[in-house]
Symmetry: C3
């Protein structure tokens, strides 16, 4: 139990109202109850305020107050994260070292203060950087190279020769480096093209649960620095994803395509192979991208077109039944039997 004053001091905020109010928990606005502190990220959430039952609030500077004590800060989300961690956080456990139930090859090297949890496997010739956390059941193949401060959650699989930068987070059951989907038709059968490339993940990348990134055929499939990939995403072989992309859940990219920097691809988008999405392009949800996208372009629809065009098409589409009626009326007006035009 702390007071609002203590929390205000803790986040270096400015208290307005009664600082003696005791606070037991920190909860999101919709779930907060008396005794809780909550927060407003910006004025867009002001309309939820009348229903708020929290005993105190962290709010941006300049927002009006309405009775309960508030803590004014420049960045309410960051301040609230600090408060949540103070009130409910559990400290990260100390480094675990190599668990005796893990299976680390004698030629693998594990950096200082790294943790390798039970039933994790690290293969021949692989290198794990400092302070990494390799959770239970993770399988790291042969000749992989993992940077410093990397977290790999349980049961993820990295095939042989996968390279991972620093500060990367890989969520549970992700698969990096499985064979690309490459076959040639020969005498009535699909014959596998050996997938001899690898996967390279840049610094500060995050990869979602059950996401799959295939190894290249001869080169590496690459994910650029700072790119964030959601769950259940598919990245095909030989793709090159730029830096600081956001690739949302269930999107898929076929082989040998690429993106520039700061590209945003929304959920369930499909991108065909062998095309390029330019810097800062934004692809809307469920779009089907079939050709190169220029830098900065917003795309929508399947097949995808520039957003403006697609919106005009969608607006017209709603009117389509009306358009048919109009034509019928025009023909009636002209004294044409309903099928007279067709008859000519």
């Amino acid at each position: 139990m702390v007071t609002v004053q203590q929390l205000a001091d803790f986040v270096h905020g400015e208290l307005v109202g009664n600082g003696e109010v005791p606070i037991a928990r920190a909860r999101a606005l919709a779930e907060a109850r008396p005794g809780d502190i909550s927060f407003l990220e910006n004025d867009q959430h002001l309309r939820e305020l009348p229903h708020c039952r929290a005993s105190a609030l962290v709010i941006p500077k300049g927002l009006p107050v309405n009775g309960q004590p508030v803590i004014h800060v420049a960045d309410p989300l960051a301040a609230f994260v600090m408060i949540v961690q103070l009130l409910h956080g559990r400290p990260d456990p100390p480094p675990h070292g190599i668990d005796p139930k893990a299976c680390v090859h004698s030629t693998a090297t594990i950096g200082p203060d790294a943790s390798v949890f039970p039933f994790a496997v690290i293969g021949e010739g692989s290198t794990i950087g400092a302070r990494c956390r390799i959770h239970s059941g993770v399988s790291i193949g042969r000749y992989c190279c993992i940077g410093d401060d990397v977290t790999i959650y349980p049961n993820s699989v990295l095939y042989d020769e996968t390279a991972v930068g620093n500060r990367v987070i890989i969520h549970a059951n992700a698969v990096l480096g499985a064979d690309g989907f490459g076959y040639r038709h020969h005498e009535g059968r699909h014959v596998k093209v050996p997938q001899l490339g690898s996967v390279e993940i840049g610094d500060d990348v995050e990869i979602g649960a059950c996401t799959t990134i295939d190894r290249g055929t001869f080169q590496a499939t690459r994910i650029g620095e700072g790119t964030k990939i959601d769950n259940l995403v598919q990245i095909g072989h030989n793709c090159r994803i730029g830096r600081h992309n956001l690739l949302v859940s269930q999107m898929g990219m076929a082989g040998s395509s690429s993106t520039g920097d700061f590209v945003v691809v929304a959920g369930q988008v499909g991108i065909v192979g062998h095309i390029h999405i330019g810097d800062q392009a934004i692809i809307g949800g469920q779009a089907g991208v079939t050709k190169d996208v220029p830098a900065g372009q917003r795309m929508l629809g399947s097949p995808a077109t520039p957003e403006r065009e697609q919106k005009r098409i969608l607006m017209s589409l709603e009117k389509l039944p009306e358009i048919r009626k109009e034509i019928r009326r025009l023909k009636q007006h002209l004294g044409l039997a309903d099928d007279s035009l067709e008859d000519k």
Copy 2:
């Protein structure tokens, strides 16, 4: 080997025909052979009957008979399940206890008659209810709480603080509680918003293989009692799924959206964030839902519209090439050059 009479007695059905016919196996109608018993769930499958080679059938009361012995029951599917289990079923193995090859933290508590199989991991402070089956390679994090009679199939991952009700089934390689996809743009980089919430799964929920349900940012992502989720589904952070929903394979829901009770969402549907789908709404396959859906509404298309509207649009769409021709003909009829209207 049993007789049809014995099976009729076993399922408390009414035998019509020769009860002495011996039965060796139970098979689905299309695959049944002489010596087999099969079943018809209802009269919709009557047209398959002439091709049926089964030696006996379980059928609903009131359905006509055509020669081979039949067992009349009120619920043929349920009766056939009993027969399949009698003839081919293997008894569930007895509780296994905690396998010496599992890794259970000393502070975790395991309920009576629970089974924890080899290479499963149960973290600090977690609780497993009575009669649970935690299969091989499952990773249950710290401070999780699992109810009674829960089955978690191999290699599923529950992150820290996941709460699971009673009689829940979680299929292989599902991931509960991975970090939500939350970032803020700051100085040209995507900065991770800590995901401090959790996941809560109600009683009698079933979760498919490779399905991912992200933890909330500050609150819990919740799945209501009795809801059934298929394979490869994505549920974003802070979502609240109501009770008794059916969420079909490969559908995805972005963050902070919610559903009422008895909602049905078909395969590959995408639902944007921050919207609500009302009770008993039905969303058709591949739809893209972009705004709130009222209770009871059926939606289709991407972007989704009420089913009736979408069907009218789709019907008109098929006629679109014809509409263009009609306009050309109208202009010819009026003696207008094909581009004369544009020229004005």
Copy 3:
């Protein structure tokens, strides 16, 4: 370090140019640098040649040469694969036997020269063929039957009674045999229909990472010989996939549907339940197939129509805003107020 002449001899190709040039590495065309050998699969890649920095090339017979030494062969891809493996390949490790950290049931049988890696589990009564590689963390249930020369990558899960042919490859985190999504509504709840069938995989099938193939209700879900399935694919219960299909990433097929032989289904396609896709049909990306598809048919769109029809619709769709304008102009031409037709 080898010479181009040595590589030409190794692949039985015909050298043109200076055979003494030393080669250190083999790289894909776009990434090749001086000292590398690269390849051109066919004349479609000729336009990339001017940018090529490789010191030597493997090219098809008949393609023109432009200075650097080349090796002419009938099949450049196959020859280049041989060269990559010669220069960079690591030999497959010898059979590993049953690792003492694996968990193999006493009643399971493991074929000669098979490898069972750490933390793999093989259940009661299961059979593993000769030369199989069962990687770490794989879970094979009870009464499974795995053919010869099968590779199962880490953390894949095969439920009880799964049958797998010879030379099958199953990538990491795939799930075979989870329960199909079958429920009946009873007194306001979804009641599970027991899924008592199994999964059967034919010879020479390849299954992608995180792909899920559900067990049948009473029969087997079957994948025909030679079919290749990409990552994150969903195959519902009771489906029967024909031989030599290509099923691309993130496609999904609902229960009880089937395909003929040599069917190609592109990425993110959805196929409803209880329909049949005929031999050699081709389904375009993101299509939504709602009814039977005749043999040889190409389908596009959602709902899917024959490709030719869909292309006409898509072309007209782009013109839709123009069509609306044309009607407005026609009405103006006829001296009709913009809403006069509606007023009648």
